[in-house]
């Protein structure tokens, strides 16, 4: 299928391989956002006039759409946030900060995103909990037996990305949750990289909390989802309070909060973004997540087979079934490779990709990351491989 018509920037000669950072937005999402701002730009839930009712209605339609997209039990379990980072912070600071005690153990891995490491380190500093890293396999993928070995009587929570953002390995959240629940351990799923790429079913996996970002799945920036089981969300006590969350507050002892989901959505939300997000989900559903996953796995295989033929390229996640390729050009710093590829209008990312602990495992600080999405093509992969096959990458990157 040709997606160029739906993604205007693809007609500008750009090859966009930085989808792990953010995806492109289809016209339907942009038009839906404009429609809100042009035609019914009113606040939600607070007006009895027509355009406010319309914005409330569209806003809540997205909630239902998200509920169905991840197969949650009810709309009460879907909280709008500013993004995956805020969702994770609400879970960690709003729930676990109040539940964990000194010496309780948290299990994560060194390939988690900063947003799933730094808050835990903060709890380590503030509460004296212990953050333990589940050892990875030699290819930096997750090892469920290693997780079981790390579990002790003190383990209270396991917090993992479903798909990691550099290596790109997929974790079996259902199996992980089953093992953890047998031992009374809660499970958090960071779905930033998996949402919009593979099917998510929170009832099937039985995960306790899940976080995702709209902008990594065709949606606008500044919108995220916090999913939690209703009884767990009801226990969240997060620092953001006030507008829209209460029924009454006559005194400090008489604060009456609204029910879920509203009691966790303080302040005016990113209404346009939330409304636009629905169109992103519709777009993905039209293609089908099974089709997207299969296409991306094939595309990565194709790209790796081509890149592997180049002597100057070191690939760090060659055999991982995923949608990312992390590599370096021998003798060239990652940022120089990125600047070089930009000369060919190829957008890739260089750095640690917010994964500053992964260097302990792979022994290098910075990589170039290609993260694929369904609008990428084999022709684009060929263009990249052609650019990387030249022998003057560093010289050309200098721009002097």
């Amino acid at each position: 299928m040709n997606y160029k018509e739906d993604f205007p920037v693809l007609n500008e000669g750009i090859v966009y391989f930085d989808n792990g950072a953010t995806t492109l937005k289809p016209k339907s999402v942009i038009e839906k956002i404009n429609d809100y701002y042009y035609n019914y730009p009113a606040n939600t839930h607070r007006g009895d006039y027509k355009i406010s009712l319309k914005s409330s209605d569209e806003f809540e339609k997205t909630r239902t759409c998200v509920k169905e997209f991840i197969n949650a039990k009810s709309n009460k379990e879907i909280i709008f946030t500013s993004g995956c980072t805020e969702s994770l912070s609400m879970i960690i600071y709003g729930y676990f900060y109040n539940k964990l005690n000194k010496d309780d153990e948290v299990l994560i891995t060194k390939s988690e995103h900063a947003s799933n490491i730094v808050p835990w380190f903060d709890l380590e500093n503030k509460l004296g909990v212990k953050v333990k890293f589940i050892p990875l396999n030699d290819d930096y993928s997750f090892n469920i037996d290693n997780m079981i070995k790390e579990i002790t009587d003190k383990t209270k929570v396991v917090s993992l990305a479903e798909i990691t953002n550099v290596i790109g390995d997929k974790r079996d959240i259902k199996k992980i949750t089953e093992i953890c629940h047998e031992r009374g351990i809660k499970v958090i799923c960071d779905a930033a990289q998996s949402a919009g790429h593979i099917k998510i079913d929170v009832q099937d996996t039985d995960v306790d909390f899940l976080a995702l970002s709209a902008h990594k799945m065709l949606g606008p920036t500044g919108v995220g989802i916090l999913y939690g089981k209703e009884e767990l969300l009801n226990e969240i006590d997060y620092g953001k309070k006030g507008g829209g969350t209460t029924i009454s507050f006559d005194s400090k002892d008489e604060i009456v909060y609204k029910e879920l989901p509203y009691k966790l959505e303080a302040g005016t939300q990113n209404i346009a973004g939330v409304i636009g997000f629905k169109e992103a989900i519709n777009y993905i559903n039209k293609i089908g997540l099974d089709n997207i996953e299969k296409y991306l796995l094939d595309l990565k295989k194709y790209l790796v087979s081509k890149l592997s033929k180049l002597d100057n390229i070191i690939i760090y996640n060659k055999d991982i079934l995923g949608f990312t390729v992390a590599f370096n050009v021998k003798g060239v710093f990652a940022q120089d490779t990125v600047i070089y590829l930009d000369k060919y209008n190829i957008c890739v990312r260089g750095g640690d990709h917010c994964d500053k602990k992964l260097k302990d495992e792979i022994g290098i600080n910075n990589t170039v990351r290609i993260s694929l999405y369904f609008y990428n093509t084999k022709e684009e992969c060929d263009k990249l491989v052609d650019a990387l096959s030249r022998n003057n990458i560093l010289e050309e990157s200098l721009g002097v």
């Binding site: 710093f333 940022q335 260089g350 990157s397 200098l398 721009g399 002097v400």
Partner: protein, 138 residues
């Protein structure tokens, strides 16, 4: 200097930078410098004695422009009086910002005169030398 020579000089300083490796000597002052917008990172050590820059050393990981510009700056600044060093740094910053500057004090550092044509490289070209600036003003 023609472009080929400029590239050669940059690559030479990138591949074999001057004074890479820290001494962790208490007679040096030290600073960490990172670019918020990219992945360059340096730790720089400087020894100032009798108002003369006696030594500058560094470690870290950074791109070719950041590493080479720091290496060349180190070679220019060691042995200079503090005021002379600050004058070089000020003129270098002016050059990068496309303001009037005295090219005679910059010598090889003049090779970065067109770096602002690549916006992504501007902070790289300034990171190391402004780290030296911070240390001189401590």
């Amino acid at each position: 200097m023609d472009n080929e020579l400029k590239r050669e000089l940059i690559l030479d300083h990138f591949n074999n930078p001057i004074n890479k490796g820290l001494l962790n000597d208490s007679s040096y002052i030290k600073e960490d410098k990172s670019n918020a917008s990219c992945i360059d990172h340096f730790t720089i050590e400087l020894k100032l004695e009798d108002n003369i820059v006696k030594d500058i050393r560094f470690d870290g990981e950074a791109c070719a422009i950041a590493t080479s510009s720091l290496s060349i700056a180190i070679s220019k600044i060691i042995g200079k009086k503090k005021e002379e060093a600050l004058n070089i740094i000020e003129n270098y910053n002016r050059m990068i910002a496309h303001e009037e500057y005295d090219s005679s004090v910059l010598e090889e550092l003049n090779i970065y005169e067109d770096i602002s044509k690549q916006p992504a490289r501007v902070n790289c070209a300034l990171l190391g030398i402004n780290g030296i600036n911070d240390l001189l003003k401590k």
